[in-house]
Amino acid sequence: MPPKLALDRVKCSYHRPEGETVALTNISFTVSPGEFLAIIGPSGCGKSTLLSLICGLMTPDEGRILLDGAPIQSPGQQGRIGYMLQKDHLFEWRSVLSNAFLGPELLHTLTPSAKKEISDMLVTYGLGAFQHSKPSELSGGMRQRAALIRTLALKPELLLLDEPFSALDYQTRLSVCDDIRAIIRNAGKTAVLVTHDLSEAISIADRIIVLTQRPGQVKTIVPIHFSAESSSQSGQAVRPLERRNLPEFSHYFNLLWKELQSDEQHPE
């Protein structure tokens, strides 16, 4: 199957009067359709920059980024790429429903049927009663779900998630992570998640890329495989919360922990 997303020797640097900072260099990897990829690495290794590049908000200095084999033309590629930021950034002056309309509104595709679909999506994900509420009336977890629906409203094929759970308290975080994983899997989307939380990455991803310290490079790629998943019928993945209880979890945790540690001992 041709990859949904392909990065080929991508390099990106920031320019300031004090000098140039190379954020990422020689980044190559692919993501298959329907795959959930997590990217981990030490803070400041260029994880968020990588997502901005994939989204088309920035252009790489060198290398290519291909979505379905074609270079990315405009930010978001007309709604084909959805980007979920760390904070929900719901607009306080809009209702939850109107916040979810934002994407189609910007691309001038907000038809009555699109409105209906988005409203139905809010109902499906437990926000039906809050459609006309202001975001301030929602809990942290509900806000993050509303932000995800705003991202999904454009029906993106590829979802980029920039530590979307980091602003939540631990308990909410676990359950929202569970929710969001289920929503993305049910919708059959391809996703790239950036996180600094090892256990979160292991509990949610099909494959994990470890980046080195700045300038970020691909250090290793670890496929995540739980035997409980292949033995269950239709190879369904188990929920992130359940994954945390499986024996392989600590194995992956130790493996990735060592990868991250060894990087700190020998900074490049």
Binding site: L57, P75, G76, Y83, K87, H89, F91, W93, L106
Partner: protein, 259 residues
């Protein structure tokens, strides 16, 4: 409702009543003391006037219509300059936000004009623009405008960059950033800026009327000082107090409605 909650509510409402009552009493006490000391000739009512003299002055001014004429002139000049300040400052701040280089070029000039005491400009405005209403409006606009531009620009410039990133990531344009994020998120700033500006415009109008006018409350104050009619002067100042409170309250009401 629980017992403690109703007690709490009762305590709040009692507190509010007490504040209002004390406030009213303080005003009455002040006016009464003023009136009594004038009647007992502890103070010279020719110089200090008295509440009763002010009331009769107000009544006679209301009878011959001059009260409404002069107040009307001042209010109209203030509203006109206020509208000009609000629209010009908003337009300029948006222009500067959309063109950062332009802001970098103009910043020192704006800062200089903002810190310049605008009353220094009034005499030159009279020479340039004549002894007319447009001079007064220009003076009032000059008092409020530059500060308003800088305040609005700074607010616009500090719009959450991630909210802007969100708009771009969804395929929006700079125009979308303006209409979907910048303007709606700046409504509280724009209104609080309006509150400041309406007061500053009134200051500017009075400065203008002091120097060049044949009507308005500022004119009345200067005229009465020249003919030494202290009652007329204090009356004009009292009306001015009322005007400034009403103008401020109108915007506060607008703020309550919108936010």
């Amino acid at each position: 409702m629980s017992n403690t909650q109703s007690k709490y509510l009762a305590r709040i409402s009692l507190h509010k009543k007490q504040v209002r009552l004390t406030r009213g009493l303080l005003l009455i006490l002040f006016l009464a003391l003023w009136e009594i000391s004038a009647r007992l000739e502890l103070i010279d009512s020719f110089i200090f006037s008295s509440p009763s003299l002010i009331l009769s002055c107000l009544a006679s001014m209301a009878m011959d219509g001059s009260l409404f004429y002069h107040t009307g002139v001042t209010v109209m000049e203030t509203l006109l300059s206020f509208l000009l300040v609000v629209s010009i400052s908003l337009g300029t701040a948006l222009l500067l936000w959309s063109n950062r280089t332009l802001f970098e070029i103009l910043e020192p000039f704006l800062v200089m004009l903002n810190s310049l005491p605008k009353s220094a400009l009034a005499p030159i405005l009279i020479v340039w623009l004549g002894n007319r209403m447009r001079t007064i409006v220009t003076a009032a606009v000059s008092v409020a405008l530059f500060g308003a531009i800088l305040t609005l620009y700074t607010g616009f410039f500090h719009t959450d960059p991630d909210k802007i990133k969100l708009i771009y990531s969804l395929g929006g344009t700079k125009k979308d950033v303006l209409t979907k994020v910048l303007l709606p998120s700046s409504v509280p700033l724009i209104i609080s800026n309006m509150k400041v500006n309406v007061g500053l415009c009134l200051v500017g109008v009075i400065i203008g009327e002091f120097l060049s006018s044949k009507a308005g409350l500022g004119y009345l104050i200067i005229y009465s000082s020249q003919v030494f009619q202290m009652t007329l002067m204090v009356t004009s100042i009292s009306v001015l107090c009322l005007v400034s409170v009403i103008l401020y309250q109108i915007i506060a009401l607008l703020e309550k409605k919108i936010l």
